[in-house]
């Protein structure tokens, strides 16, 4: 993307991540003041790419800024794509579970323990793995 226009010609207050409202200036400041040199690290420090579209809009531009400002060669390590691929309503996730292999339960329900109780917990995946 952006082959014809260098990111460096934009004003600092131009929005790079529209979902989270992160500006070019904030991303440049992050590159300048931290050791972050990947799209993923920039994401975690600035929230760029953490919103509704999960970086589909901004990740390429952030990579370009890294190339220009931090002199990272083209093709910086891509952002980690986090599931789900598209937003899924909580109620749909909750309803659609029958198709999935399910764990027996959460790993730790510490709220139920009394002092001296043995956690007595087996790995929740053991049964699955033995299947």
């Amino acid at each position: 993307m952006c082959n014809t226009t260098s990111a460096t010609t934009f004003e600092e207050d131009v929005i790079i991540c529209r979902c989270e409202g992160v500006t070019l200036g904030q991303i440049r400041q992050c590159v300048k003041s931290s050791s972050a040199r990947t799209v993923n690290e920039i994401k975690k420090l600035t929230r760029s790419g953490m919103g509704m579209c999960q970086g589909r809009t901004c990740a390429g531009t952030v990579a370009l800024i890294l190339e220009k400002d931090a002199h990272i060669p083209p093709g910086v390590e891509p952002s980690h794509a986090r599931p789900p691929v598209r937003p899924v309503l909580l109620q749909d996730l909750a309803a659609g579970s029958n198709d999935f292999r399910e764990p027996a339960g959460p790993v730790s329900v510490i709220m139920l323990r009394k002092p001296g109780d043995d956690p007595g917990r087996t790995h929740p995946l053991e049964n699955e793995q033995n299947r």
Binding site: S34, N40, P87, L90, L93, S97, V107, R113
Partner: protein
């Protein structure tokens, strides 16, 4: 190939290691902090963390530590002029089962006797305290001192502050083994070469087990990949952190507006490659628990889910303290899913140990020797 020697090498840059490095540097110790990953979490516990900062629900041995450690969230943010996005708006753990009310009351009474500001809330009062709870919730334990914070911001701020005070930070530098001679630590072998040192703080979470084994110390840990979800932002609707007795959920709305959903649901993770993958069934069950506890957000979309690998010790308590028989080795790992809240304070106590030579009594319940001589069996075999 050798790197510059250091007095103390902190292995693992999550909340505990970053905090230890900060407080060590502050007290003038020549310290280097190494981590296999980058500036923003290692795929370990500080990344899988839901960001809960709670006192309640801890075993009694951990309550004095929590009461000491949690005030650091305020004082350290001021000291560093950093925004940890810490909110101390309380946490309530609710129940909808008659038979759980008495055990909940017992826990609240026990925690009050340990000095915690916590109380029971029932029925109508509970629903007034936390608008949005379903009417079938009978009772809850409300601790106004509980809250939440942002793990990524916190860890980054700590490591940066440690660097400003003179700690050397080596990101992307995996540790391979701990080297010892005649029962004392002499170096850490890393991807960038050996670092000669007098001491090691091993705060590498689930990765601590293999590194301890290289010094013939057996840590009774199991790695658990835990997964989390976050929803789209929405208008502010929840001040407190919510838990549900007997169910896997910790629910909070973070300052940016999204609901962060944790609760100890397992994912897939590989300690060797560091790769993780989600377990769809965990997402489904976690989502079901969420909409049953807090129905008004059932139409919010989940936009992201992720996994981090945590170390659970066999008794689900941290191992923190010097290791008998291996001079210079200090373990701080295995926090078993409840280390984030106390991580800042534990880092301060680690630095105190290196300053004074004696371990704070707050940490005495957590030393490795509670597991008996077997954990050092490899040590005696080697000798």
């Amino acid at each position: 190939m050798a790197m510059k020697p250091a007095e103390v090498v902190v292995v693992g840059g999550g909340i505990v290691g970053s905090s230890a490095a900060y407080f060590l540097a502050k007290s003038g110790v020549d310290v280097v902090l190494i981590d296999s990953r980058g500036a923003t979490g290692s795929g370990g516990a500080s990344q899988a963390c839901a960001g809960g900062v709670r006192h309640q629900g801890r075993v009694p041995a951990e309550m004095p530590l929590a009461l000491y450690a949690i005030p650091f969230w305020k004082t350290l943010a001021e000291e560093l002029e950093a925004d940890f996005q810490y909110r101390q708006d309380g946490m309530t753990i609710v129940t909808d089962e008659e038979s759980f009310v008495a055990p909940l009351e017992e826990r609240v009474a026990r925690e009050r006797s340990l000095g915690l500001n916590i109380r029971m809330v029932y029925g109508e009062d509970l629903r007034n305290l936390v608008p949005g709870l379903p009417s079938r919730m009978l009772a809850g334990s409300y601790c106004p001192l509980d809250g939440h914070a942002d793990p990524l911001r916190t860890v980054h701020a700590l490591a940066s502050a440690a660097g400003r005070l003179g700690a050397r930070i080596e990101w992307g530098c995996p540790a391979f083994s701990l080297e010892q001679e005649k029962g004392r630590i002499v170096a850490v072998k890393t991807a960038r070469g050996d670092i000669s040192c007098n001491s090691v703080v091993l705060s590498a979470g689930a990765w601590s087990k293999a590194l301890a084994a290289s010094a013939q110390v057996i840590l009774p840990f199991h790695p658990f990949p835990l997964q989390m979800m976050v929803t789209k932002r929405c208008a502010h609707a929840l001040d407190q952190v919510l838990g549900w007795m007997g169910h896997g959920i910790s629910l909070k709305q973070v300052p940016s507006g999204g609901f962060v959903i944790g609760g100890g649901w397992p994912g897939h993770g590989n300690l060797v490659t560091g790769s993780t993958a989600l377990m769809p069934g965990s997402m489904a069950k976690s989502a079901r628990t969420t909409v049953e506890l807090f129905p008004s957000i059932s139409k919010l979309p989940v936009i992201r889910a992720w996994v981090g690998i945590e170390a659970f010790s066999v008794d689900e308590m941290q191992v923190t303290g010097p290791v008998p028989g291996v001079d210079g080795l200090f373990i701080a790992a295995g926090f078993s899913g409840h280390g984030f809240a106390i991580g800042l304070g534990v880092g301060a106590l680690i630095a105190d140990f290196f300053k004074t030579g004696s371990l704070s009594e707050l940490l005495l319940p957590f030393t490795l020797d509670r597991f008996g001589p077997d954990v050092l069996k490899g040590q005696s075999d080697a000798a």
